[in-house]
């Protein structure tokens, strides 16, 4: 039932595709498992089908450029399995690599790999606020996904609330697509530019093109859409769907407006669920205000033979993800095929390109760091969407002096729903830290329990080895 390969890559975004292309050149046997129906990851979702036409213009040149990598990935000898949902990974208990359990066509399958590369990407940082569970409220990243895969935009005026490059990019795309922006509620706190001016210059030096583009977007938006700076608090209201929203600027009074669509964004964070479940050591990144797995310079985790590349290992964007995918492929080749020596110069080039991107990143991390209040919402806010657990319930429990998210989970059911704590992990960590007077870095996230994705009883039953005829 289980077959063996040299390398299993999970995720067919920029990091996974680049690693597959690089590693397959050396003749490794590779399987790439991806949850989506087509390669590209979230950044280039559906790019193959959007090569031209109106949508391609709307999404811009950086999006269209992804098609070239997807073509090369399709052409490389790696065995690509789409719509394959990985639900468990068993580490090899010190021997390196491990077993990957996945579902495809409702069949549970097991695959053993001498090395595993997790290129599972990022998720939007869930900025809990009162009313964020109402239909009509969505992540900006989510709205962009449905623009890429469905070619659609919200029907009617859109409120955008948040900060960061993706917020500006989507706003520009929305306007190009003929959408209306009711207002842009910029949540970047006041006084961010001056203390980070050196980082700004550094970013301009190392990443001039994307930086200039970003500045131009912001200027264009400020001139053409209603722009509210320094928004500090947000509440969404309505019965079964969003009807009004209330925002408060720093030092200002609450303003309530009618709203049918509210798109929010407070940056992205690495998807840590697979590495947490495996027990890979995690480190708090103060710069990015989140956890990321501890990685060596090649992307190997604390578990031998388990690598991470791309935004799953720390946010750096698609270009960096490609480079990190290639670097991980080099390390994996050296591990599995010592005879195939990679050129030193090539590695050096990869590293220098990567360091330029990372040098430019520092400014974005600092300037768009989410405001403290975005992480510590008022009592009536639902933190765990699945189980409907509020900030008040978590605060009440943690006032007893307890400071472990797993205990909060056991006693409130927060994190026990289908998303398994992916949406409330940071919220619970922050609230616990707030009450116990510590830091989210010390509190940590929930332990991640398998399965990574739900699997039915019937699908699991098939894996029983001692099964006789049904």
């Amino acid at each position: 039932m289980s077959d063996h390969v040299d390398l299993i890559i999970i995720g067919a975004g920029p990091a996974g595709m680049s690693a597959a292309i690089a590693a397959s050149r050396q003749g490794l046997s590779i399987v790439v498992l991806d949850e989506q129906a087509r390669p590209g990851g979230q950044i280039w979702r559906n790019v193959e089908q959007r090569r031209d036409g109106a949508l391609s213009t709307v999404l811009g040149r950086d999006y269209a450029a992804g098609a070239e990598l997807v073509d090369r990935f399709r052409a490389c000898p790696a065995d690509y399995r789409a719509e394959a949902s990985v639900w468990h990974i068993d580490e090899g208990q010190g021997t390196g690599g491990g077993k990957v359990f996945y579902l495809k066509d409702h069949q549970a399958r097991v695959l053993e790999g001498r090395c595993i590369l997790l290129a599972t990407g990022a998720q939007e940082r869930p900025p809990a606020f009162p009313g964020w569970t109402l239909p009509g409220v969505m992540g900006i990243g989510a709205a962009q996904v449905t623009l890429k895969s469905g070619g659609q935009i919200p029907d009617g005026p859109v409120w955008i609330a948040g900060c960061g490059p993706l917020a500006y990019l989507y706003a520009m795309q929305l306007r190009r697509a003929g959408g209306t922006i009711a207002g842009f509620l910029d949540t970047t706190p006041p006084g961010r530019l001056l203390p980070n001016f050196f980082a700004f210059l550094q970013a301009m030096l190392f990443q001039p093109a994307p930086m200039l583009k970003g500045v131009a977007w912001q200027l264009a938006l400020r001139c053409t859409v209603p722009w509210v700076p320094h928004v500090a608090a947000l509440t969404a209201d309505g019965g079964d769907r969003l009807k009004t929203l209330t925002y408060t600027t720093t030092g200002g009074k609450p303003v309530t407006v009618e709203a049918a669509h509210l798109l929010v964004h407070e940056g992205i964070v690495p998807g840590t669920h697979p590495t947490l479940m495996l027990g890979c050591e995690q480190a708090w990144s103060d710069a990015q205000d989140c956890f990321a797995p501890k990685l060596d310079e090649w992307g190997e985790t604390s578990l031998p033979g388990i690598f991470v590349a791309g935004d799953a290992g720390g946010i750096a964007g698609a270009q960096a993800a490609r480079l990190r995918g290639e670097l991980a492929a080099v390390a994996i080749m050296r591990r599995l095929k010592p005879s195939a020596v990679a050129e030193r110069d090539a590695v050096k080039r990869l590293r220098s390109r990567l360091s330029r991107i990372i040098a430019g990143r520092a400014f974005l991390d600092r300037y768009f760091r989410p405001r403290e209040a975005a992480c510590l919402p008022p009592d009536d806010t639902v933190i765990c969407r699945c189980e409907g657990v509020t900030a008040a319930q978590i605060r009440a429990l943690t006032t007893n002096g307890l400071g472990d998210p797993n205990m909060v989970k056991a006693f409130t059911r927060a994190g026990m729903g289908p998303c398994q704590g992916r949406q409330c992990g940071y919220g619970v960590a922050r609230l616990t830290a707030e009450i116990t007077g510590t830091h989210a870095a010390t509190v940590g996230l929930y332990r991640a329990r398998p399965p990574l994705k739900p699997i039915t009883l019937g699908e699991l039953a098939v894996l029983d080895k001692q099964r006789t005829e049904a």
Partner: protein, 375 residues
């Protein structure tokens, strides 16, 4: 400021430790619980919370039947129902030969004087569990058994202990023990706790603690796996197990299906971690779908393995140390200790305060497992 002197130190903040502490507090003693991580972190929080007298070893029945009575009045004990519902426990027979083995079991318990177990036929089984597979021919049934909510139970016992004046020191790991004329001195890093009496309720770590306290009790470790599904509409009241299967199947108050029964994962006791082995857990999924074909498409959202101590005869260790003065053991429940929680508090209270108990606990004696020489 933490109180460091008590009448009794309880090592281990699982349900048994809490229950013992609660009874001693109510008897007027001062009690401090030393818990390595947090209350219920391991087996207690990972339990399926079955409240079952059915099919227990006959030697456990006297205390188990008493515990059952206490569960029916659990609110009097801890001020909360603990989510306990006496919806019955069923042990299903899938073949006629299974029926015979169950009938033998009923004869055995009846001859020992216990009348709570009864046989039910196919029709009654279908009425109690309408979704059961048509091939099932009958069952053993205890209508007064049932199940509770493990986390709610933990919370209730924790609150009750605190309300009774108990001190719970979480994040407090016992690293050493010393005994002199005045009693025990337990080292917890740079902190010291003193008491004339120490209760070892340290679950999977009880063997290590026993060694510190001068007893050498051979123990194994279990990592029983559990799985829980998404919430589904109510369809099943009793807890269901089956002859010849490693399965325990119930629907919780929240609507989730909680499926366990003792399939073993892997435990790393030192690292306090446990691992789920899906190729083995698949057996449980298969058993569940064969007994309840309609749950085939219900999705598993979470699985885990709880770490617990097990003994060679699968019966707990409850009693005073015969070597170390003032040391009492309560651990090794081997995967079926939840139901006994209320009664262990009473047993230990009697043993500690009256130095004896009228309850039948001879088969739980710490010595029986072959205590070797003191360390």
């Amino acid at each position: 400021m933490t109180r460091t002197e008590s009448d009794i130190l309880v090592i281990g903040g699982g349900l048994h430790g809490l229950s013992v502490a609660l009874q001693l507090l109510r008897a007027g003693r001062s009690v401090t619980i030393l818990e390595e991580s947090w209350v219920g972190r391991h087996a207690s929080g990972a339990s399926a919370a079955g409240v079952r007298t059915m099919f227990r070893p006959v030697s456990e029945l006297p205390v188990s039947v008493e515990a059952a009575g206490m569960w029916h009045r659990i609110e009097d004990l801890v001020g909360d129902t603990c989510g306990f519902h006496a919806n019955g426990q069923l042990r299903v027979a899938e073949r006629d030969t299974d029926l015979i083995s169950l009938e033998n079991r009923v004869r055995e318990t009846r001859s020992a004087g216990f009348k709570h177990e009864e046989m039910i036929d196919r029709q009654t089984l279908r009425r109690l569990a309408p979704a059961i597979a048509p091939h099932c021919v009958g069952a053993l049934y205890v209508c007064t058994d049932g199940a509770a909510d493990p986390h709610r139970t933990l919370r209730a016992f924790r609150v009750a202990v605190l309300a009774a004046g108990g001190l719970i020191c979480e994040g407090t790991s016992v690293t050493g023990a010393d005994h002199n004329d005045t009693g025990w001195k337990l080292l917890c890093g740079d902190r010291i706790f003193r008491a004339p009496v120490v209760v070892n309720a340290a679950g999977a770590w009880a063997g290590k603690i026993a060694a510190m306290l001068g007893d050498d009790i051979p123990l194994g470790v279990k990592a029983s796996m559990m799985m829980v599904t998404e919430r589904v509409a109510p369809f099943l009241d009793p807890v269901v197990s089956a002859v010849g299967r490693t399965l325990s199947f119930k629907q919780s108050e929240q609507g989730t299906l909680v499926i366990g029964g003792g399939l073993q994962g892997r435990a790393d006791v030192e690292a306090q971690r446990s691992f789920v082995d899906f190729e083995r857990l698949a057996r449980g999924a298969r058993a569940a779908t064969e007994l309840f074909p309609a749950v085939r498409n219900i999705r598993i959202v979470r699985t885990w393995a709880g770490i617990e101590a097990t003994t060679s005869d699968h019966q707990p260790v409850i009693g005073a140390s015969t070597r170390s003065p003032g040391v009492f053991h309560v651990f090794g429940f081997s995967g079926h200790g939840f139901q006994l929680v209320p009664v262990t508090g009473l047993i230990l209270r009697d043993l500690i305060i009256d130095t004896k108990t009228s309850r039948q606990i001879a088969s739980f004696a710490p010595d029986r497992l072959g205590v070797r020489s003191a360390a």
